[in-house]
Amino acid sequence: MAHRYKSDLTRDDVTPKDIYLNRRQIMAGAGGMLGAGLIGSRAQAQDAWDLTLTDYEDATSYNNFYEFGTDKADPMRHAGQMTTEPWSIEIDGMVDNPGTYSFEDVVADMTIEERIYRLRCVERWSMVIPWNGFELADLLERVGVQDGAQYVAFETLARPEEMPGLRVPIIEWPYREGLRLDEAMHPLTIMATGMYGQPLPNQNGAPIRLVVPWKYGYKSIKSIVRITLTDEQPPTAWNTYSAREYGFYSNVNPNRAHPRWSQEFERRVGGGLFARNIPTLMFNGYEEEVASLYEGMDLIEFH
């Protein structure tokens, strides 16, 4: 069932289209005359509630997709090599209709809608992205979740000949993520197939990715080839690498510091050299919608 969640603002309310597509050029042009610092402050978010869209150019050139390298520009440089057509997703485990579904088949019955979400990376940068996608719950209902299933596990494509990052064991490949079933069924959780009204660029996880806006960005696994329903908490990439640093839940939480850095603040990408840090919001600003999922849970221990 689509449209169960409605963000308070549409894209046009947030930023006029000509502005978000051209802010970089406007800044560069005006910066020469007036000093870029002054102009840079124009694009700045005053707090994390601000839903001014990140420039498309920034959202597609500043990415973490370690399969293509660890530099932020590596995904943009190398992800073009990834073959996304044909694409299929294996859906297995505790489902009524397991099988290999083609991308076209998966999206055929789904209602694609726009969701403007904050994206908060564990590294303390953030963006606001207009995703196009459908609720994961709709897909799960279609394949039929069996009684007893409690978790959903996801896997990213791992194709060494197209992904130079796989040569280095930065983390365990293939990249894996997982959600508790109630998190996966939550109306905020979507499978995105596009952003800014266009198909997902490869570096952003084409052709289909998860978006869980109240969790750190790495939970929103990209370029998904496998979805497994299971009754056990699945191993996930960063948690396997360091459980102390990256919990299974990974809910955005300013009160729980990453062992190597504080999570109290974040910086919106695109604010320039003098961008201000803004306080990070509990559950990335989606506390009202998702806090009930974690009632009675110690969110520091289960970080």
């Binding site: 560069a28 050139s61 520009a73 190597r260 603040f265 695109g270």
Partner: protein, 212 residues
Amino acid sequence: MEGADRISARPGPVAVLNGALRRVPPWVLYIAGAVWALWLFRLGLTGGLGAEPITELEHRYGELAINLLVAGLAVTPLRRFTGLNLMPFRRAIGVLCFFFVLAHLLVWAVLDVQTLARVWADIVERPYVTIGMAAFVLLLPLGLTSNNWSLRRMGPHAWRRLHKLIYPAAVLGAVHYVWLARGFQMEPLLYMAAIIGLLALRLRPASRATRP
């Protein structure tokens, strides 16, 4: 006569290179370093460092500093093992290294972390920041005494002893770099290996070759 001088006196590519380098005044390096630092800052202002220029500028200055650190540590082994004489540039390399460490630190504190309270909290609470700061503290007296006046005042013996602080500072710098990486990454480990390797070369007694 030192072994290195013997080698460089022989005709050959190294001697030619040494001859050419002798004509390059060290201040060229200072100019190049300053221009490079300003150029990077300008790139950050005008969008040339990507969508998140603060972090990028911080990393670029830090990477330049650790490259210069490796270069500075390589001067003596290069002379000993290949005869290439970069001694006239060593001070400039060291001062520039200090300069880029300072720039890295300032970008981190002023543009990235932004408030004094949080700068202090990070130094106290985050081990990789603590270690980076310790490396800077060790470099501070070296940066301040890298001039002829200090060398004369201290005398070459004390000056040289003080400047051995570059060895622990280099190791701390490498640990700082390794520690902040997310996941298993090769580059910081290669720097660590290079620095440890260059320090290990110094364990070999310097005078053995010239003994009868």
